[in-house]
Amino acid sequence: MVIQRDIKKTMNKAKYDVAIIGGGHNGLTTACYLAKAGLKVVVVERHDYVGGAAVSRELHPGWTYSNCSYVCSLLRPEIFRDLELSKHGLQIIPYEGSASMLDDGRFYAHYQDHDLTYRSIAQFSKKDAEAYDRFGKDVMRQCKIIKPLLKLTPPDPTSFKPKDIMGLFEFAKYFAAKDELGGLGEKEIYDTIRFWTMSVRDYLEEYFESDIVKVHLAGSAIIGTALGPYSPGSAYVLLHHYMGEVDGTVGAWGYSRGGMGSITKAMASSFKSKNGEIKAGSPVTKILIKNNKSYGLVLENGDEIYADKIVSNLDVKRTFLKVVEEKELPSDFYRAVKNFKIRGSSGKLNIALDDLPVWKSIPIGDPAGTGDLHITQNIEEMEGAYDDWKDGKWSQFPYVDMCIPSINDPTMAPQGKHYMSVFIQYVPYNLADGGWTEEKRKEFGKHVMERIGNYSTNFKDIINHAEIRTPKELEAEVGLTEGNIFQGELTMDQLMFNRPVPGYAQYKTPIKNLYMCGSSTHPGGGVMGAPGANAAREILKDLNKKMSTHYI
């Protein structure tokens, strides 16, 4: 009896309107909007810092690592504006170029300057240099179609149109018609269907003849996925990486000044300025549910937190297989969650360098060397890297997306020294020969660094510290199941009204008062904020609260 009275007391004392599990950028986005609307909101984060996969951490004295995500484009500008992220310290520095280094000593580059890019591509193929504009226009058109969809809560296809894939395109057509494109013709709809279902290799083949052009562009289509360039559906992933913008330049990428953690730091600051509360260092072990209604959280230390609405920023698997008990869930939903594809395929190295790497091909000072750098030679090599992954090995010739943010961002490393971020595709979550060990992790890191070293005259000698992360570490640290960077594959069967699972694409769950706001929901992964803002809008709707911001 005494105990029960105690619970009641705490309930009255620490009751929130909304409790958000997880302080990733999406959880924080939801939190900011809800706090802005006047609700009493708490964010409960496992680590003693917020940010999830958008963090800056000093893991080596003097150096700041963008520990997981490393470049910004997808973050919706309306969210940036609504949350006053500039006032709270966020700034994005646009890319100046990007390059692929070739085995024959040449390099292939894109620049901010259109004419320079044309001539750079024309060195390999004049036709491709021209085709790049065609490609750019077509991708841009698809981005324009998709843009209004990002902000949208996907309609329920069972109350909408056909349940099959076509429903999606009815949906696209309907909204695109309202868009400034002035409605889409049949042709554009066919293009959309093709783009969303094709392999990136087939897609690029329609535009380009040169291997290096194709492989340079194909990178965006395999980052973070368990698809290869020949896999149907990979073209969509490319689109996913093109639909962001920097100051109105669609498809452009930039560095977040101070690392990706500046984004979540600014969000946290914005949240606190609206009287939001963050409970860091508090892993949630269970969501309290009674009569199919959630009402609170249990923390690892046994504390309980009560709230009218609970929102999970964790991926859908972690939410429903780890913190909600199976008995609370309808079995078809439980099965759908179990079947949700969330395969890890990426690794990450964060490297502290004592000097600027000198590349064998790219001259010092060339802006091509300041953005994303690659060393893959052709699509077949890329597909081969994928084959290794399927065999349960890390790729012998991995696709790397590396960059040196410290060239443009003066806050990342001590003067004269540099920070290098290396994203690696593909790395399996489980190794075929007996699983990951500490030794194999190191061997994997060494393998990647050796490969990079082959393209530089000094790289091997200037490595001061390297943090090596496989999908295992990504899972352990961020909580991304299997280390999948998008909180779930971006394939047709898991997008729009199928994300995360059919019937539950509207940020709601089978449990009353329990919502989802992470990248497992529409429109998916990346540091975008759209899932978080969309979830906030749904919650406000359910609470009959009106809000008028740039996004909502």
């Binding site: 170029g97 004419d115 320079l116 044309y118 750079s120 021209e130 002035g182 409605g183 013709g185």
Partner: protein, 400 residues
């Protein structure tokens, strides 16, 4: 061949005339054209313009795209590409043509030089290698982008022939409009065509980049008597508007480049129906063009004679003299005060009900005046686009 190594420090290329153009380009105000630096204005647009209407002006048009079409199917290829019929074209003749996509939407226009049955050369404003290559499948032709291997000058104005004649360019006065031939300027072999954008007497001179500077210098040789000026892109824009020549991505969006499908235009909408020959056998866009013609254009690019003297740049066009009840019916794509015509002229799109010659529409002109805008509601009369067409343009022999 241009083998300049690319460097990020020099994003723009210099044409073979750069040594001279940079000397003349007092304002150092460069315009980007296909990756090259060309002068926007050398010293005074007004004087540069005047030279083309009074003596002769020299314009560096090297950045123009140039494609060689060779092979036994060269002529068939061109006939599939463009909308008009060139079956009867002769060697040394130039055809002006447009090409459309399968939906009958205009991609670009250009001049097509016939060297012989098996060799044509296309000059155009936009890059077209992809489009030409797509069109060329199944034909026995090679399509080569030779843009950087030829230096080019437009030499336009009433004295252009006279000066070439003084330079001993033999028989140049008898070169007919839309024809070309090989000539010598000093000891340099050049190709000269009687073509150009000015709507006046004028030539285009094509030479090897190594001879560029010499050819340039020759054109200025008689400046003591007849003042020739280097003219920039601004002056060129003036003469081309007066002549009623329209420009892709200025007056209409090229169908290859338009992001928004509803911004593409068919030839009838551009007033270029006369370049379409629907009796010709299959060519790209034919089916769609038959439909477009039947339907008639919903809007059309027309000439506008604008009231007053304030250029209607970027103006929206309306249907009524009373602003408060007026409805939007079009848009101006190019506008200027014409010094030679002493008229306020413009080119613009108007809706169906208004494209008949003589129709009245109204432009809202925002005229900047000492940090303020004067809003002018100007009456415009729909007229022919070709505002200026001097008889000396087509006279044979040409004036020497």
């Amino acid at each position: 061949m241009n083998t300049t190594k690319i460097s990020y420090k020099k994003p723009l290329l210099e044409t073979p005339f750069h040594e001279r153009t940079s000397e003349h380009c007092y304002s150092n105000d460069w315009y980007r054209w296909a990756g090259y630096k060309v002068a926007k204005e050398y010293s005074s647009t007004e004087l540069e313009y005047t030279s083309m209407r009074n003596t002769a002006g020299v314009i560096d048009i090297t950045p123009m795209h140039k494609y060689d079409i060779k092979g036994e199917d060269a002529k068939n290829f061109i006939n599939k590409l463009i909308t008009k019929d060139i079956s009867n074209i002769q060697s040394n003749q130039v055809a002006y043509g447009i090409w459309c996509n399968e939906d009958g939407m205009v991609i670009d226009d250009g001049t097509i030089f016939c060297f012989n049955e098996n060799h044509f050369r296309i000059f155009c404003a936009e890059r077209n290698l992809n489009w030409f290559s797509d069109t060329g499948t199944g034909f026995n032709v090679t399509i080569e982008d030779i843009s950087s291997s030829i230096a080019a000058l437009a030499f336009q104005g009433p004295l252009s022939c006279k000066i070439l004649n003084l330079l001993q360019v033999k028989n140049i006065e008898n070169l007919k409009p839309f024809h070309f031939d090989s000539y010598k300027i000093e000891h340099h072999n050049v190709i000269i065509s009687r073509t150009g954008f000015s709507g006046d007497l004028g030539y285009e001179i094509w030479c090897d980049p190594s001879q560029a500077i010499d050819v340039w210098d020759n054109l200025f040789k008689f400046n003591r008597d007849y003042k020739v000026l280097a003219a920039g892109m601004n002056a060129l824009d003036m003469v081309r508007i007066e002549a009623g020549f329209i420009q892709p991505n200025a007056d209409f969006m090229s169908a290859e480049q338009a992001l928004r499908p509803n911004r593409m235009r068919n030839p009838y909408e551009l007033g270029l129906g006369w370049l379409v020959n629907l009796d010709k056998e299959y060519f790209t866009g034919k089916q769609a063009l038959i439909r477009h013609k039947e339907k008639g254009p919903e809007k059309k690019l027309v000439g506008l004679d604008v009231e007053g003297d304030k250029p209607a740049v970027g103006s929206v066009l309306y249907d009524n003299s009373k602003k408060n009840i007026a409805k939007e019916i079009g848009i101006v794509t190019a506008a200027m005060w014409s010094p030679v015509l002493k008229s306020n002229i413009a080119i613009g799109f108007v809706n169906k009900e208004y494209y008949k010659l003589g129709s009245n529409v109204y432009a809202e002109i925002y005229h900047p005046e000492e940090l303020d805008y004067r809003k002018i509601w100007a009456e415009c009369k729909v007229v022919k686009k070709q505002f200026f067409n001097n008889p000396r343009r087509n006279a044979i022999p040409a004036f020497i």
